[in-house]
């Protein structure tokens, strides 16, 4: 019979191929009932949660996981950048595209912009796959931008030398911190231990390390 030799992955075909229904599935009414019976209600939180985003029944385990991520991020920052710096040439494309994008939105660089509502920040971050878990400073520009095929958060925070532009790049991986020094900007594209990277750039004289450290502490990807 067909069912003994059928390699099809199609359930319907599999269950209806043989006239004799050797698996006993020949009664459509019974099959419908059976399917309904097997489809037990799924607990609400199970339907919504993912193991990477919800502590669910093991909060300590997930706290530990989160702590690991934060510690790893901290190690990145405390280790210092120079030893692991990646030559600009190695990732010149990403660095250049970052700066090109920044230049394409000059309004982000204007001093004296009004601060952006934190709720708007959270909303755009969420759309960009990120989450604000701490203080990131005064945001003076914010936009969800298409960048290399993804919608990313492009924003500016107040620095001592003017606006510091930031792009959260969850889908861009760099093998180490990348120096950005183009078009009068100085900055870094930082790889993050949890994946992706963060591009930060400001005018010469800006205290970028402080801002980077603050951002790394205050921003997490939506796991």
């Amino acid at each position: 019979m067909n069912e003994h030799t059928d390699n099809s992955h199609d359930k319907a075909q599999d269950r209806t191929a043989a006239p004799a229904h050797s698996d006993g599935s020949g009664d459509p009414a019974f099959e419908a009932l059976l399917e309904r019976a097997l489809k037990i209600p799924v607990p609400e939180r199970r339907a919504e949660a993912t193991p990477a985003s919800s502590p669910a029944r093991h909060p300590l385990r997930w706290l530990a996981f989160a702590a690991t991520v934060l510690v790893a991020a901290g190690i990145w920052m405390s280790a210092g950048q120079p030893p692991g710096m990646v030559p600009v040439e190695a990732t010149a494309g990403l660095s250049s595209e970052f700066i090109s994008h920044v230049l394409h939105e000059p309004q982000a660089l204007q001093a004296g912009n009004a601060s952006v509502n934190p709720a708007d920040v959270d909303r755009v971050f969420e759309q960009a796959g990120a989450r604000r878990t701490g203080e990131i400073g005064t945001v003076t520009y914010l936009k969800l931008c298409p960048f290399r095929g993804h919608d990313v958060a492009h924003f500016a925070v107040e620095g001592i030398a003017g606006p510091v532009v930031v792009m959260l790049l969850p889908d861009e991986m760099v093998s180490g911190p990348v120096v950005v020094r183009e078009e009068g900007f100085e900055g870094t594209i930082l790889p993050l231990p949890i994946g992706g990277s963060m591009a930060v750039a400001g005018r010469p004289g800006e205290d970028l390390e402080l801002i980077q450290a603050r951002l790394v502490e205050a921003i997490q990807w939506r796991l």
Binding site: L33, L34, I40, A52, A56, G129, G196
Partner: protein, 172 residues
């Protein structure tokens, strides 16, 4: 330095996949363990394990059997670790009955709960998870003939139960 670091793109792919299959996986875990709490634990552990091994999954088309196998193994590990005692099927059936208003459904659910695992699992894999008998044979490491036999017997047992329900007209 970054060999073990995955991109968020992978995490999103994983999240999408899990969100897509989560209900099925929970139900599969439930029918394996016959315990809603254990099913939640098993799925939770399985998803963590799936994430750790996500790079092993080369083709998205294979995600379903891949996830299912992880749940299946996690269920076995759970019962091995816990040396779980017998499940109070009366209580579980009662809890399920509360959520189902069709008496036939309640009878079937209790019947499925009381089926031997050898019969219950292929039935769940076929009806709920949509696998072909050949795929079930591969998953359970049985011959296709053995799967067909078990499916036939499982349905037969359940139909007998339904036949005892007054006024039921679904059975042959």
């Amino acid at each position: 330095m970054t060999a073990n670091v995955t991109t968020l793109g992978e995490r999103r792919r994983y999240d999408d996949l899990v969100a897509h299959y989560r209900n099925d996986l929970y139900r599969y875990a439930f029918w394996l363990s016959r315990d809603p709490d254990v099913a939640e634990d098993v799925v939770q552990e399985a998803m963590l394990r799936a994430w750790k091994k996500f790079s092993d999954l080369r083709e998205t088309s294979q995600a379903k059997p891949w996830l299912l196998t992880i749940v299946r193994r996690e269920n076995a590990r759970y019962f091995e670790r816990q040396r779980a005692g017998s499940v109070d099927l009366d209580q579980v059936a009662g809890e399920l009955a509360v959520s189902g208003d069709d008496p036939d459904i309640a009878v079937l659910r209790e019947g499925i709960l009381r089926l031997e695992t050898d019969y219950r699992e292929p039935l769940v894999l076929q009806v709920l998870m949509g696998f072909s008998t050949q795929e079930i044979a591969d998953i359970l490491e049985l011959t296709q003939g053995a799967v067909l036999t078990r499916l036939h017997r499982a349905r037969g047992k359940l139909k007998v139960l339904l036949a005892d329900v007054p006024g039921d007209g679904t059975q042959q």
